[in-house]
Symmetry: C3
Subunit: 147 residues, 3 copies
């Protein structure tokens, strides 16, 4: 099941964004927030979606805006922490995203942690919930792409 | 057992530094050195502690000096190399630490390798010894925080 | 078997380059290319070797040119994706290479993905083929060292 995040970030890094919503259950939740918000107990994400359909809409909008293709991204996943609970898995996985510009310059674009609820149903292993907790407060540009 | 390092770096990145000494056995050793020192056969670390009690004192001093909270850290762990030997595990794990400033800027703060001796006793799985080998020679600022 | 890449990058990062060819089968292939080339369907790598003997020659040349020792490298491996097929394993592993200069400055030197065919024969587990797909197009300096 820990393979799920490896396949998830591979789809993003390979620009196969249309596959991105399919890693979520039909009623799957996707939230993006910051470590600062989490430490202050603020429950609301800065970006959230409550269904696979919303995620599909987001990718369509992203393709029309055409913002994604100007550069490449590379996700590096740290060792996950996985615990089983009530028939589902909870996983915490630190990540780093590098951004590779057309010039070849490579920077650390984002770091943070995935907190996932992972389930297995008839369609396979997928996210019931994925919360992306970003270390940086400056996440304007981060919200444009799937993380 | 490879979960141990994932939990260890999570405690650091979440600023739960008081938990840091508890990942070590009561007589656990913690050393910080550089790759240059290791390659020259210099056995002495630039910072070392020989007990959990020393690590606890260090965190207290760190909290009083209040140096830690100005920024965030994110550890990314590479695939570990684990070998079993005489009832304990030896693990080598490359790591990268990103530092996230208040401005949102993120840099590669440190890289290196953990060389660990990991034991299981009545209190659980913990470090009998952790040697942090830093790639950079400039480690003044690195010594201020747990690595 | 996923240990193979951990041992492989450790040999590079520890400057034990003479061990590098030994991770390949005698008729093992090593290719370096770019994500741009792969997405355009260009089959030819920018650097390729078709045998362990060629890799050994390359290390000899590298040692004579003495280019490698001016700085250190640190490979960080992401979670691999492994599939079994016809008695061999196929693995995809994202990686990040940090470069640590003598000044202590550390930068993200390269990112990309390994696509490996891994086999087990009488000599152990090794690469039948390793393709290094770099995210950046600017790979002149990248070709100098094993990746």
């Amino acid at each position: 099941m820990q393979d799920l995040n490896a396949r998830y970030v591979e789809a993003i890094d390979d620009d196969r964004l249309e596959e991105w919503p399919e890693f979520f259950r039909a009623d799957g939740r996707y939230l993006v927030t910051t470590a600062e918000n989490v430490s202050q107990g603020l429950p609301i994400g800065l970006m959230s979606a409550n269904s696979r359909a919303m995620l599909r809409d987001r990718i369509k909008a992203l393709r029309q805006a055409n913002v994604y293709e100007a550069q490449r991204y590379r996700h590096i996943l740290s060792t996950p922490r996985v615990t089983a609970e009530n028939g589902e898995l909870k996983a915490r996985t630190s990540f780093l995203v590098a951004r590779i510009m057309h010039t070849g310059e490579t920077i650390v674009f984002a770091t943070g942690c995935y907190r996932d609820r992972i389930v297995r149903d008839e369609d396979g292993v997928m996210f019931a919930e994925k919360t992306v907790i970003l270390d940086s407060r400056q996440i304007d540009t981060l919200l444009a792409i799937p993380l």
